[in-house]
Each structure stands twice: as C-alpha cells, then as structure tokens.
C-alpha cells in the first residue's frame, strides 16, 4: 500500500508498504531517516520516539497506515539547519552521549518535556524519561544535559 504523510514539514510518500509494517520501518528503510533507532520493537526502550501529531510516541508501535495524512517530526527535524536544537547541543556539551543509540529518543523525549515544563526538577526529568533506556551513561549526564538545555532556552 501507499502511505502519504508529512515528515519534518515535508510531504512524503512511501510505496509498497506492508499493511502490518511499523512507522519506524517506513521512516528508516523507506524514507531514509535512520535517526529514530530500532532497538526493542516493543515500546520498552524509547529509542524510536518521534512526535506523531505533536505527541511523543514509539514509532515501532504505530502501524505505518495509522500515520496516513498525519504529521511526524523525527529527531532529524529538531535542528534548524546546521544549528542544533538546545537539547541536542546540551547533550553534546554535557557528555550525555556515549554509544549514542538511545540518544535520538532521549532528545525527542527531553524536547517534549521542556515544551511542557521549562524548568523541570530531577524527579520530573526522571519521570519524563522513564520510557527511554540508556545502558551507557547511568543517566547522570543526561539529567545534566536536560537542566542545561532548560537554562539555554
């Protein structure tokens, strides 16, 4: 089947999509947007977090056909040209990136948190990022990055 959707502000079309295929597969394998990571495929790890109609969701749990006509914003859509979003820049500056596999999902989840809560507490950050697993950092540098991004906004 064909799926039409808006991704990062651009009208996109994917063809030969299998009806049971996930939005994540379409983004990565058909639309050339590998920023959203494929790790668990069961909504446990948050590495594939994208905005779907402005609401963060695991792209692996959205059927591609459910995204027909909808708006998707991926981690690739956060930067303004070469200027990183403050969340992205803070992750770099704070050393919150190690292997990097969880980073795109964490960046989107943190980006959403800061839209809702401009100056979150540690507890609010931990709660907001509870659906994003990182096996390298121990999360401390990620907390630092989110605080720093809040200050930069």
């Amino acid at each position: 089947m064909r799926v039409n959707l808006t991704v990062n502000g651009e009208r996109r079309r994917a063809d030969d999509v299998w009806e049971g295929e996930s939005l994540l597969y379409v983004l990565r394998e058909r639309l050339g947007l590998p920023g959203s990571k494929n790790a668990c495929e069961q909504g446990e790890c948050g590495s594939c977090t994208v905005y779907l109609d402005d609401v963060p969701a695991c792209a692996c749990l959205v059927a591609a056909g459910q995204a027909e006509g909808r708006e998707v914003r991926t981690v690739e859509g956060l930067a303004d040209g070469d200027a990183l979003d403050p969340v992205q820049q803070s992750f770099v500056d704070a050393g919150a990136v190690q292997c990097g596999f969880c980073t795109p999902g964490l960046v989107v989840a943190a980006h959403d948190l800061l839209r809702r809560e401009p100056d979150p507490s540690d507890e609010e950050i931990r709660e907001a990022l509870a659906g994003n697993l990182c096996r390298c950092t121990g999360y401390e540098k990620i907390l630092d990055a989110v605080h720093s991004a809040a200050g930069a906004r």
């Binding site: 089947m1 299998w18 009806e19 049971g20 295929e21 996930s22 597969y25 495929e41 069961q42 909504g43 446990e44 948050g46 977090t49 609401v55 963060p56 969701a57 695991c58 692996c60 749990l61 959205v62 059927a63 056909g65 459910q66 027909e68 989840a109 959403d112 709660e127 907001a128 509870a130 659906g131 994003n132």
Partner: protein, 294 residues
C-alpha cells in the same frame, strides 16, 4: 520484519464503518495505540487476516460526564484520562499513571487494556472495584457488560467475534476514596507482579486483584467484611486488627501462579500487604471528606 503474508488494513472514519468491517471479518484485530498488537506483529507472533485501525474514529476518543457516571470512550489515551479526569475518576487515573511510560500512555487506551484482557492489565482491578460497565457494539446493536462478567479467562473476554469495545461507564467519585496499588521491579515500564484496587463509596466496598488469578477478579468475602466493619461516616482511625483481617481475606482470594515476574507465594503475600496499605489510604480519603463536611 517484512512478511509476504497478506494482512488487510481497514481504516474506518466512523464507528458504523468499523462495525460493518468487523461483522464482515470477525477475525480482524482492532488496532488503537498498538502497544500490544504492534508488538505481536513486529515479533511475528501473530498474523491476523485484517487490522481495523480505530484511531480515525473521533467519537471513540471522547468522554462525557452525567448523572454521577463518566462515559469514557474506548480510544481515549491514558495521558488524557490522567490530565482530564484525574479528579473525577481518581482510581482509574491512579492506575493509568502506572502504565508503561509517557510514550506508552500517550497511545495506550482503556479499550485496548480491555481488548487484551491480560490478567496483569493495570486498569482491570479499578474497573472491577468501581463497578464499571463495558459498552460494546456490533451491527446487531450495543450492550453493556458489567466488569464482573467481562473477563472470562487468561487474555479472554466476553466479546462476541463481531463486537468492538466502544466505551466504559464508570461511577465518578463524589467523595474520592479510591486507591490503586501495584508491585513491580521499578517505577516505570512494569507489568504488574500483582495489583490491587479499593473503592469505598456510601457504605459499599469494591475491591479487586490483578495478576494473581487467571483473570482480574473481585474479592467478595473481603468486600463484605469491610462493608460491615468500617465505621462509615466517622473519622475514626481503623484498628490494626481490621486492616490485618482484610489483608488475610484478600490474600485468601488469590489464585496465583509462579512465573518470570514472581512466585505464587510472593503474590499472595504481597496482595495482603497491598490490601492493608490501600485500605489505610482510602480510609484516610474517607476521613478527610468526613472532616470537610463537619
């Protein structure tokens, strides 16, 4: 993950179209937040003949309140339930806060919880304790199923093959004495090891267990004991002996198994503890409302 097996994707815009599709294809699997169904597809555990996407049907994602009840559309995501109905349905909102993660709560729905009918589903004990009714519909018409008779076996429910879950009807808490408690290995992304819900309302007690029997179920002996023994309408503290007896009756009603998340023995013990704790909290709610009225 690519499969050659054909799966039809039906995307109705109205409930009427969805019911017609389900009547034509009784094997079709309803798809909303995808938190269960997409996992099964991604892992090739299930290859249904058809999927019916319910996320385009606007009326399923609405709720309304009247006459001391809330009619909650089956497609309202947990995040909206928590944000919009936290005060009106405190027990259900409490259980919803323990579901998955923010991303999961943004997509998952009470309708999906009911469709999957897992013994460990977080909202079931609250729906049972609150005396909720499940509204289902087919091309033959609509009916309401009391939560008591909805869960028929492990991951099985009382739906006919052509029916879809459209809403739940939940008595709202005029005096919010509703509590939910859940045991898990951490605070997020946890399938309940066991769970417990308690609703105190006008001399009536609703209490139910999750993940400790083949289905979520009420605990009638414990409910009857508490309804008779509670000093309703007073702000008296509860004696430890009463809390202990309640915990024993709840523990006695469990019928758990050993599995990867915990042993049967642990579940029985933990439910006795959860019962005592939630009783303390719910009675504190009750006492607070008595004092507020005095």
């Amino acid at each position: 993950m690519q499969g050659s097996d054909a799966v039809e994707l039906v995307r109705p815009d109205t409930l009427e179209e969805a019911l017609a599709a389900k009547a034509e294809r009784p094997g079709a699997v309803p798809l909303a937040g995808g938190t269960d169904v997409m996992v099964e597809l991604n892992y090739d555990h299930r290859r249904p003949e058809a999927l019916v996407d319910l996320t385009r049907i606007a009326e399923l994602a609405t709720w309304s309140a009247s006459g001391g009840h809330v009619r909650l559309g089956a497609g309202v995501p947990y995040t909206r339930l928590i944000d919009e109905l936290g005060d009106t349905l405190p027990g259900l909102a409490m259980a919803s806060r323990t579901v998955g993660s923010p991303q999961i709560r943004n997509r998952g729905t009470v309708g999906g919880n009911l469709g999957a009918a897992s013994p460990a589903g977080d909202t079931h004990p609250v729906l049972l304790a609150a005396g909720a009714e499940i509204e289902v519909a087919s091309v033959r018409g609509a009916r309401r199923i009391p939560a008591d008779t909805f869960y028929t076996g492990v991951k099985r429910n009382a739906l006919a093959p052509d029916e879809l879950i459209t809403a739940v009807h939940v008595p709202s808490a005029a005096v919010p004495a509703e509590q939910f408690s859940k045991v898990g290995t951490r605070n997020a992304m946890v399938i309940a090891v066991c769970s417990f819900a308690l609703v105190l309302r006008d001399g009536h007690v609703g209490a139910a267990i999750g993940s400790a029997a083949p289905t979520p179920r009420r605990v009638p002996d414990a409910e009857a004991f508490l309804a008779a023994e509670l000093p309703w309408g007073t702000d008296a503290p509860l004696p430890d002996s009463l809390k202990r007896r309640f915990g024993e009756l709840v523990a006695a009603a469990t019928e758990p198994i050993d599995d990867v998340r915990g042993t049967a023995e642990y579940r029985t013990h933990a439910l006795g503890v959860l019962a005592r704790r939630t009783l303390t909290w719910a009675w504190d709610d009750h006492r607070g409302s008595v004092r507020a009225c005095a």
